[in-house]
Symmetry: C2
Subunit: 321 residues, 2 copies
């Protein structure tokens, strides 16, 4: 039996786990990340891996690290990680030196896609695409059983497919990105706009935030929608529609076997998924003349990155054998 460690490095914490061959996390842990201290995050990764290896009680063969940033084509260097203050950081070799084990690094959404592909919603498919709908939109894809990395390691940036020319400004510097229309931030922006109008539709949302739109959270919208508030249902449907339309465009490029939707906003379930499915089918190229991929919920939740990173480490070991 082989065990690996998967780490998922986010802007505020590092989540980690010991992953076995079935994709189960047999021992988990986490630490806070000092976001603006690049070296401290590297040490935090090494410390957490060391602690998991010690406390897990099993022998670890390799470590996989998922992080929110661009990873170069040979998977050694983090080119740019906006939320971690990492620039051209040779993370693989620095961590391998600290940990004393083989290390694999990968973009976090790619790692999550690999997790859902190997042990989650797409485990019976040969190819898939994952859209993670959180604050932004992350993406990852598997083609013919291999993670789609691209020529420069930057494939699968689905949140930055442009869906509206001259549209809303995105954090990436461009305008009109899918992320600006189909993410948790987009949901919250629309909900706050609705409250600010003061209309009758917005009564439940207005009450929920005490009349202060800035106090509204994404989870409020989902909870109100689940309780039947029409305006909240429609806000989620609007985001789901953009998501499905965007997925159809990305599908025209990749033609996935299955489309997996994950991330925090996907907790809304069919309130997000059904509008997404309808929009996806309506915009699918060649509809009526082709099989249609299913649009399904991710099944690994927040563990997808840790499991995927652990599995990528395992794959690395197998390839090197």
């Amino acid at each position: 039996v082989t065990y690996t460690i998967g780490l998922d490095v986010g802007g505020t914490k590092i989540a980690g786990g010991v992953v076995d061959e079935t994709g189960a996390i047999v021992h988990a842990g986490r630490v806070e990340t000092p976001a603006q201290d690049p070296a401290a995050i590297v040490r935090g990764c090494a410390d957490l891996a060391g602690r998991l290896a010690r406390d897990g009680g099993v022998e670890i063969d390799a470590v996989g690290v998922a992080c929110a940033g661009f990873i170069d084509a040979d998977r050694s260097t983090v080119l740019f990680a906006p939320n971690l203050a990492w620039r051209n950081l040779p993370l693989r070799d620095e961590l391998a030196a600290l940990i004393g084990l083989p290390v694999v690094i990968e973009n976090d959404a790619n790692a999550a896609a690999w997790g859902e592909f190997t042990h989650g919603a797409a485990e019976h498919a040969d190819g898939m695409m994952l859209l993670t709908v959180g604050t932004g939109i992350g993406g990852g894809a598997v083609v013919r059983g291999q993670l789609l990395r691209g020529g420069y390691g930057i494939a699968g940036e689905f949140g930055h497919v442009r869906v509206v020319p001259g549209g809303l400004r995105c954090g990436c510097g461009n305008k009109g990105c899918l992320e600006s229309y189909a993410s948790g931030s987009a949901l919250l922006r629309a909900a706050r706009e609705l409250v600010a109008t003061g209309g009758a539709d917005a009564i439940a949302l207005t009450q929920r935030c005490g009349g202060d739109p800035s106090k509204l959270r994404g989870a409020d919208v989902t909870e109100l929608a689940e309780a039947g508030d029409i305006a909240s249902v429609e806000l989620l449907a609007e985001v789901g529609t953009w998501l499905g339309e965007g997925a159809a465009s990305i599908g025209a490029v990749l033609d996935p076997d299955v489309v997996v939707i994950g991330g925090g906003v996907s907790a809304a379930g069919d309130l997000l998924l059904e509008p997404a499915r309808t929009a996806f089918r309506r915009n699918l190229i060649g509809r009526g003349h082709r099989p249609e991929p299913e649009v399904v919920l991710a099944t690994l939740g927040n563990d997808a990155g840790v499991i995927g990173a652990g599995e990528l480490a395992r794959q690395h070991l197998e390839e090197c054998r």
Copy 2:
């Protein structure tokens, strides 16, 4: 030495060639296609292949067929070919029975991408994407040295990525597809609109078509642009800009090593390519923090489909060995 035959089946003709191991067409031929008679096109393919095999004077080991349509995932059946009246046609087996050789079938733009990858503009790359700009926009991509086919054989439909919500109606039934903004048809539509305005800008274009916008051809715009007509230069730049912006969105999905632009409109060269390059770079995800793929002209011209189909037949032989 292995020789294969490549056939490229279009709406009005079938082009074919005997392709050697260097990707050279050593013997070429063509026949008209009776577009509305599905069975006659199949016979036309078989007849042309037979003639090429006889007249080429070399032994042929396999035949590849590129055609404008959706091919199923196991590459045996044409699901839907709008211009050829083919619906659920088991083309591979019908042709193999008629020709008596192994047959491989593929979407025409995918075959062209494979041609440019193996012997054309992207022959030194590991991954690439091709946009063919003709009446419409065709697309094909290579990922890690393998043609991107997708789960249902329909990947690379770049012309049907939506770039404008609620935009112009496309022949595919959707609205706002890249094909409606960045193709030869889009160029001609814009040029005709300009002539119809009767403005001073349009003098050269108006003279060229004798004042009748419907008489204007795409080549007129390119020729006038090459002669320095500002309006024609701008029309090509507008199409090139859409093309570059669309390529940047597709690039956010695929992250190609190199972007290849082919098809009839690419004969305009830098008049199309320079605006496309500028728009591509400006919209590229992560620019400033990553290597940038080059945007280059295709080098195989109209032969890309024949060469690619021949090479796919050769690849099939090698895989079966």
